[in-house]
């Protein structure tokens, strides 16, 4: 169907309708001798239909009116006059006028519908192309680039995307020749925070040159899409701004998808790194421990063997070697524990434990070293969620320190109590105490209060305690004891009332 150029000026179309009536009248001149005037009207009707199809509603109506006048003037008796001899023709005029006007309306409406359908098709194609390109985009930058390019092509506008980075907006992709000043950034921030369109053509801050659409998904607002007209003063039609909203939501979904994919990839990487670390630690632990197992085993076997029982010197040498091997094993264990804590690979498996059992297990582990020491235990039966093995180690380390840094004749205390929903376990000694300004630093790695006293140790014991307690979401601190000595206290949060009693059958 041949189309007139769409941007034809209105007066040109009206001029054409006048010409059309003139041409029809000229054509009718040779014909009117052979047909009756009432049939000649059909030519004018044809002219009205042509005008309606090609020129629009107004020119078609003008054609109908001019057609009636021309028909009356040229072909109805008396000719070349507007007077009508036979009043029957008034009906013909009326018919021609009404039919002309109705046809012009109908034809014009179908033309408008065709135009609308064409525009919808164009929008659908634009959306389809956007979706297709978004689907094949491989990463976030690709997606942003695709959105900016499509907004530019479809709406003839500059576009830019700003994405949330933490609490602020960050410009991620701009079409060339598009820059945002400070005021426009403020409008973008408003659109982002409120999740509402803002700027040109909206209800909010409309005197800005740029229009910002929030990129919204079910999860929230991811950022904003900014659009600016290339020619100032050309506004988007309402169906165009609806299409722009659809573009924005498509873009938001694609960006969300890319972010999810990114997160999944990061999680996978972290898991792989975690596994590698665990495997490494286990293998190092195994390789360091294996020789120690043979050494300790062999020496203990010799110790119990009858072979050197007769020779006390040899026997004491073997005992010393075995004890040193055990000490070395303890140091290796400390280093591995510290590595594990620093790598974040230490996980506390918390389940309700009786604090008395924990204290007993710690005292058992220290064994002979407690011989000759008065240990005062002050505890009630408390079921508190904790990792049994790890907490035993904390107590062993604390008691070990208390033994090391207090005179052999002084007593050591262990106290556990419930303090406002938290379990506090303290280890008390009557040793030399800690200088006040070092009370927090003693929990640092490799930090030792009296390096010169040669009391042994790597300075890792308390750091490990701290790591374990923190894995329980607890706190550990040291204070000087009134009357001399040190108190180290561990506070573990208690879960809301453990389902302890009641089930005792």
């Amino acid at each position: 169907m041949p189309l007139l150029p769409p941007l034809q000026r209105p007066w040109q179309r009206y001029l054409r309708s006048v010409l059309l009536v003139g041409v029809t009248s000229l054509l009718s001149v040779p014909v009117h001798r052979f047909v009756s005037p009432s049939n000649l009207v059909m030519l004018y009707l044809a002219a009205v239909v042509i005008a309606a199809i090609y020129l629009g509603r107004g020119p078609a109506a003008l054609t109908a009116v001019l057609g009636v006048l021309a028909f009356d003037f040229f072909f109805v008796q008396p000719r070349l006059s507007f007077t009508v001899a036979n009043s029957e023709y008034l009906l013909t005029f009326l018919g021609l006028l009404i039919v002309g006007l109705v046809i012009s309306t109908l034809a014009a409406r179908s033309r408008e519908q065709a135009d609308a359908a064409r525009r919808r098709e164009a929008q659908a194609v634009a959306l389809y192309e956007l979706s297709r390109d978004l689907a094949s985009a491989s990463d976030l930058d690709d997606i942003l680039h695709v959105v900016v390019r499509h907004v530019g092509e479809t709406f003839g506008r500059e576009a830019g995307i700003l994405l949330a980075a933490g609490d602020t907006l960050q410009t991620r992709s701009l079409s060339p020749g598009f820059a945002l000043d400070e005021d426009e950034m403020a409008v973008a921030a408003w659109a982002f925070e409120e999740g509402q369109p803002a700027g040109r053509g909206t209800d909010t801050l409309a005197d800005t040159a740029v229009c910002f659409m929030p990129l919204r998904t079910a999860r929230g607002v991811l950022g904003v899409l900014g659009v600016q007209s290339i020619e100032p003063g050309v506004h988007l039609r309402s169906e165009q701004s609806r299409l722009l909203e659809v573009f924005a939501s498509q873009a938001a979904l694609a960006i969300e998808r890319a972010e999810f994919a990114e997160q999944a990839r990061e999680a996978q990487l972290a898991r792989a790194a975690d596994e590698l670390q665990r495997a490494l630690l286990n293998s190092v632990s195994h390789d360091l421990r294996t020789p120690l197992v043979s050494i300790t085993g062999t020496l203990s076997s010799l110790e119990e063997d009858g072979a050197c029982q007769g020779d006390p010197v040899q026997r004491s040498l073997i005992t010393m070697a075995r004890e040193e091997a055990e000490r070395l094993n303890g140091l290796v264990g400390n280093l591995l524990d510290m590595t594990r804590i620093e790598a974040g690979a230490l996980k506390a498996t918390e389940e309700p434990c009786d604090i008395q059992e924990v204290i007993n297990a710690a005292l058992d582990r220290l064994g002979d070293r407690l011989v000759g020491r008065a240990v005062a235990i002050d505890t009630a039966e408390l079921l508190v969620p904790m990792d049994f093995v790890l907490m035993v180690q904390v107590l062993v380390n604390l008691l070990d320190n208390a033994l090391k840094y207090s005179p052999p004749a002084t007593p050591i205390g262990v106290a556990a109590r419930d303090v406002g929903g938290a379990l506090e376990i303290s280890v008390l000694d009557r040793g030399c105490g800690v200088p006040p300004d070092e009370l927090t630093r003693i929990f640092d790695k490799f930090y030792r209060v009296h390096p010169s006293t040669g009391a042994g140790g790597t300075g890792l014991g308390l750091a490990i305690c701290k790591g374990i307690v923190e894995a329980h979401h607890g706190r550990i601190w040291a204070e000087n004891r009134p009357g001399g000595g040190t108190i180290v206290t561990v506070a573990l949060p208690q879960e809301p009332p453990a389902p302890a009693a009641g089930s005792a059958a």
Binding site: P352, S503, A504
Partner: protein, 232 residues
């Protein structure tokens, strides 16, 4: 099933140095020692050598110690002592749940290992518990459901008695939390650790001279409990 060379012991460990010192020490103590260098070989060796006891390393390169324990328990009740490092806490418990009898933690002294081996062999030799069990001042008469400490009768609730009876029938053996919960409370209760803790605490208060320092029912840190036998 003891041969003339003393009890037959199978050592399953992938470290040559550890196998060597175990071989030397155990032989010196009159054991007849066989070796296997991995799990596959170990499983075959149990069938071929008919050991009286298996010492099983948990960190074998081919088959996990837990899996070996499980496969052995399908057809034999030979005592299994597992050897672990401290970092294998959960594997150790899983192996005990699967039916291993006892464990030692690396590095271990020979005295400790030998004591565990003797206890396991003794239990294997007399699998049915005596009707009357006693350790220290504690006496449990399973026939009459009578429990006395230093000659004085102790009243226990049915649950406490079941718990004590389970420990007595496996005297000297480590029982994991899961095993105790399953045997005393039933199959659905394996996760209810607090039930066990509360009843164990009550039981200790009634039996032990000093509940804070138990001398009959010993805690195996993070693993479970063990009833001390007289000779320990």
């Amino acid at each position: 099933m003891m041969s003339e060379g003393g009890p037959r012991v199978l050592v399953v460990d992938d470290e040559p140095a550890i196998r060597r010192f175990l071989h030397a020490s155990l032989s010196a103590h009159g054991y007849n020692v066989f070796e296997a260098i991995n799990g596959q070989e170990g499983l075959v060796a149990v069938t071929n050598c008919r050991p009286d006891l298996v010492i099983l390393d948990l960190g074998l390169p081919d088959i996990s110690g837990i899996e070996i324990t499980r496969r052995l328990r399908e057809w034999t009740s030979v005592p299994i002592i597992i050897v672990t490092v401290q970092e294998q806490e959960s594997a150790k418990i899983a192996a005990l749940d699967a039916g291993a009898d006892d464990y030692v933690t690396k590095p271990f002294g020979m005295g400790e290992l030998l004591a565990r081996m003797r206890a396991s062999l003794r239990r294997a030799a007399s699998p049915t518990a005596e009707p009357v069990f006693s350790t220290g001042q504690l006496t449990v008469d399973l026939g009459q459901r009578l429990v006395t400490v230093a000659g004085r009768e102790v009243q226990l609730t049915p649950t406490e008695y079941d718990l004590l009876r389970t420990l007595v029938t496996h005297a000297g053996k480590v029982l994991t939390h899961r095993q105790l919960l399953r045997q005393v409370w039933g199959a659905g209760y394996e996760g209810e650790a607090h039930l066990l803790r509360v009843n164990m605490s009550n039981l200790r208060h009634k039996l032990e001279p000093d509940a804070a320092r138990p001398s009959f029912i010993l805690t195996e840190p993070g693993v479970g409990y063990r009833l001390r036998v007289a000779s320990e």
